[in-house]
Symmetry: C2
Subunit: 696 residues, 2 copies
Amino acid sequence: MASSQQSAGSALDTNFGVDYVICYRLAAADKGKAEAQFEKLVRLLANVGLDLEVRDGDDCSVLIFTKIVSERHLLGEVYRSRIKDWLHGIRLTAPEKETEKLLASEPLTDSERLRIAYFLITSPESEGGAGITPQKGEWKNVESIFPLHNRSFNKEWLKRWSGKMYISAEDLTEIRDRFGEKFSLVYAIAIGLWSAAFIEYWKRQEVDLAVRWGVRGASSIQHLRPEFEYEKEVSDSVTGEKVKVFPARKRLVRQLLQVPFAILAISVLGGLIATCFAIEIFISEVYNGPLKWLLVFLPVGLLTAFIPILTTILTGIATRLTEYENYATIDSYEAAMTRKVFIFNFITCYLPLFLTAFIYIPFGSLIVPHLDIFGLTVESLMDDPKQLQMPKAGFQINSARLQKQVFYFAIQAQIVNLALEIIVPYIKRSGFNKVKKIKSSIASRRGGEIPDASMNDPPEEAAFLARVRDEARLEIYDVNVDLREMCMQFGYLVLFSVVWPLSGFTYLVNNWFELRSDAIKICSGMQRPVPWRGDSIGPWLDSLGFLAWLGSITTAALIYLFGGNGLGPEGTPWNIKVWGLLLTIFFSEHIYLLVRLGIRTILVSIESPGLQKERQERFSVRKLYLEEWLGEEEAARIAEGLVGKADRKMLGEEAGGPIGAKAEDKFWGRQQGLEETLKAGKGIISRSASREKKDQ
Amino acid sequence: MASSQQSAGSALDTNFGVDYVICYRLAAADKGKAEAQFEKLVRLLANVGLDLEVRDGDDCSVLIFTKIVSERHLLGEVYRSRIKDWLHGIRLTAPEKETEKLLASEPLTDSERLRIAYFLITSPESEGGAGITPQKGEWKNVESIFPLHNRSFNKEWLKRWSGKMYISAEDLTEIRDRFGEKFSLVYAIAIGLWSAAFIEYWKRQEVDLAVRWGVRGASSIQHLRPEFEYEKEVSDSVTGEKVKVFPARKRLVRQLLQVPFAILAISVLGGLIATCFAIEIFISEVYNGPLKWLLVFLPVGLLTAFIPILTTILTGIATRLTEYENYATIDSYEAAMTRKVFIFNFITCYLPLFLTAFIYIPFGSLIVPHLDIFGLTVESLMDDPKQLQMPKAGFQINSARLQKQVFYFAIQAQIVNLALEIIVPYIKRSGFNKVKKIKSSIASRRGGEIPDASMNDPPEEAAFLARVRDEARLEIYDVNVDLREMCMQFGYLVLFSVVWPLSGFTYLVNNWFELRSDAIKICSGMQRPVPWRGDSIGPWLDSLGFLAWLGSITTAALIYLFGGNGLGPEGTPWNIKVWGLLLTIFFSEHIYLLVRLGIRTILVSIESPGLQKERQERFSVRKLYLEEWLGEEEAARIAEGLVGKADRKMLGEEAGGPIGAKAEDKFWGRQQGLEETLKAGKGIISRSASREKKDQ
């Protein structure tokens, strides 16, 4: 407990109570300007009630350590934030007003504290924050704002996960035994069912988790984009707050630009991929001249060189377009951007497979002979024209190409990707450290002065500050990158895995590692992320739904084309019956949609625990108010639908009332009391019965 | 104002304050039993606080007039009902507790009063009602429970509507000019766009209207079906009420019986229709023997005879199946029944058209020669075998058949239907009155006694009671009948109207009348309906969506088959390219779905006034509570996100605090106050800058 005796080693486990570290970089050569801006930054931060310490960072940066200044102040902010949640309907019960009760009923989590601190630093001044926008506008020098990792938690987390094994070896053997290895109809049906069930299940699970985590509707509290340009400021008819408005119609018109953009992206990327595809086929299967060993790498080279360039250019256009669409909130901006990026990803990931499956294999023998536009150019360079063995009619297509490609995406690409995610950042970091050491040793040899920021560190903080400097150098985590990766993998699975059913298994294995490698990445490869609240995976859910739907079409087509029922176009596309293919697709797609509807219907009919909890809370809140107002007993009676019967009987006896002068009063006064009514009724019954007898 | 002078004529405009009339029929010959049951009924009604008067009905019935006994009692019920709404989230503000304010803030509408009275009469005793279930169980003798029409309102309503003309003649000419009369691609696109827009618009409009009418979520207050059989009674984890439970899984298994039922219905009805269709074609286009003039009516006769019988049988099975599925609430029961009935309706309405368009016309010349199984049987009866002119190969199909059928549904069927709806009930009623008069005159001649219920009427009530007896004889209005009619019409429009685009116009005309004839029907042809609350057209919306989707397929197919581009199979089905047809369908369907998605996206991005109102109310309610708890000023500050800056500055100056013994305290105490922090930071900046200079 005597923490003054903390060793440097255990200091790695403490964050010194730091909420956020702000990394201020001195990019501006002008020292005076940098100082002035720094002073402004520090004053703004102090102004919103943050305690500050500055330390020397590395590479010309100042590290500003912040924490919320006093418990009382923090509690005030917690209360404000919870009240805001309540006003927006994210929580149903108003938070306790008294300070002690406030935290006793719902303890403050790390996330909540960090979220509040982040808002204090980044919200606009009009909303009570310091208005610091890292890397943007006047705060270009603020490189990053990040919380420090909780080392002991991270260690525990990774340890727990690495010990868990969800899939036993038997399961995997069974999968193999059941689905075999190639073009299985059973597998196709299974994957269709699974994808439909997965989408519907996730939709439900998402809501359920959001309710359990108390973030349902969190997306309705929107964070204003600082770059948002408003046309006018009106007071919101709902909340009475002043709201910055940009007309929806105007935005709609701007959004229409997405159509030409999508066409551009598709034609540019698609054109490149198709061209390289054609070159590759020509060189590997037609061309037989000199330098073949080298030319084989040409299409790969072209793709490797141009895809990143084109993607960067297109992403730039997409960013500008999304900025032009001028979204008011961060969420809607990101959703719009995600939608655009999905188009590139779709083309770069799946187009090569589409080309192989639906162009090259069925129509290869028609198209390949026309590739001699390349053949002619090569011919003139060659000594012997016979080196170009262009098959005129009997060209044999390489039907293993599709399997090879699917195999590549299922195994090699996954391994490469995993390596890129873990190993490359590690190498980068250790390389950086080595470079730094070399630099400093050179400098010390040259000038004698060691230009190291850690020079002036107080010894008991040295280890801690070294760690903070390390974390400051890490990249910022973007959850969309991991979501995109999973979404694209889902796409390979539902679109093409029927070609090689074991690929489903390889993805399973990959994800076992992926889950853990992403955890490692978040814990040690990235700055600790700001704990944003989310209640949905947002636009990615639409992407998953679209891919699964498309999967029902491609899988049917692949089964029909290559199903081994004799219809497969092994170099003989003439035998494919187009109407058969279209009919297969038609049925597969509609059966898929029906199944999905059925699964949704079933899932809806079973109430999820999360929604039940929400309903429970809503009802109990209302009942509580009722009790406060009416007294418990009366409230219970109303809630249970019981009304004192005694009252009623008494009232019943009151019936009739005085005979008034009005016809209406006379009408109701004709039979005084219950007994007279009964007597009159029985009289009618007797008369009717006798009338009926006479009638017969 | 002196209402004692009300004439019999103006008595037609008063309802004597009657809430509901209960018609108790003496079907049981046993007078004693009828009396005992009647006594039980009256006592139960008096028990729940209703004032009662009985009068003689016609045809061996007793009319029991009910009204809620005292204003105080009514107000109690209003309060209970509004509290229940609030507990279930239908209304956001709790109702006023004080009696005067209760009605001053929201006046009691006719509907609310009638709804409350209806619940008092029909709710189970456990829920505080009298538990009367008309025509069911022990209350078989309770023929109906109905409110009386408000004559003056009805008159005003019909007058207002008949004066309104929404569509001008110019519009119609324009429609004709634009779409022509036959197989127009432009029309097909227009109808596809319109149907997609209509569905999405209605979905939004439905929510909007529900919010405006204050019934959003009304379907969440479910009314228990009296026939519901529960397996166990558990106390609801949410409301704490005792809830009767039937396991959802068990119901799901029972629901699976719908599949064989659907197959049965489709094969029985479909088989009948297909058979009659074949007979009709054979007789009208192949057969040329004796009695042709008579035999032509055979298929129509068969259909007219058997369709109602089969429909009745199937409806009986559907009812039993739905009862077996054992739904807990009236709403879910009706939705399940509606879904089943939709299957029959779909087959009986559209199958003849499907057969003509997609079987008879393209494959007629293949199939018709095989119809000679009938030909042979006829042949043996005939004198001259040549009378049966069976065309062997050159059979010419009657391609006008499809247009004729569409024309029939667009014009004749609509007129017949309109006539059935208005004129038949009118004739029925006046016929009934005549029969009654004749009967009574015979009886008076025979026995001298006039067996008329009106004999004993007090003179000032005579006119009123005569009116009530009339209304008691009317049928009960079922909104599903009208919804089904509109839904089926929508189906003709989206599925087949491309065959004869003017049919869209005839439906428009029909609906102009339909709207008004339905109003007349509700006002004078039916008992006044119980004012249920609804927040959706429920399962009919799904039906509309399904029909519109299917329409995108049939319309494409019709355009492709008969589009006049030379591909139309005028007796030459061999020329149709199946892959072309399938490809057309594929594109049409997917373009339709894309357009619908686009329209939905646009509609969602524009906030509807209803939803805005809801958001506004929710927010203002919460803000109100906040103000009550915190005082107005503080609440405004929290809501606007402003926190006193003065507090913060003060807090900022507090920063630092005493240097503690802990490393953490030491860390935060290193720089005392803002000025020291600034100084330290500037020091770092200077050193960094100089380091950088040396480095270069």
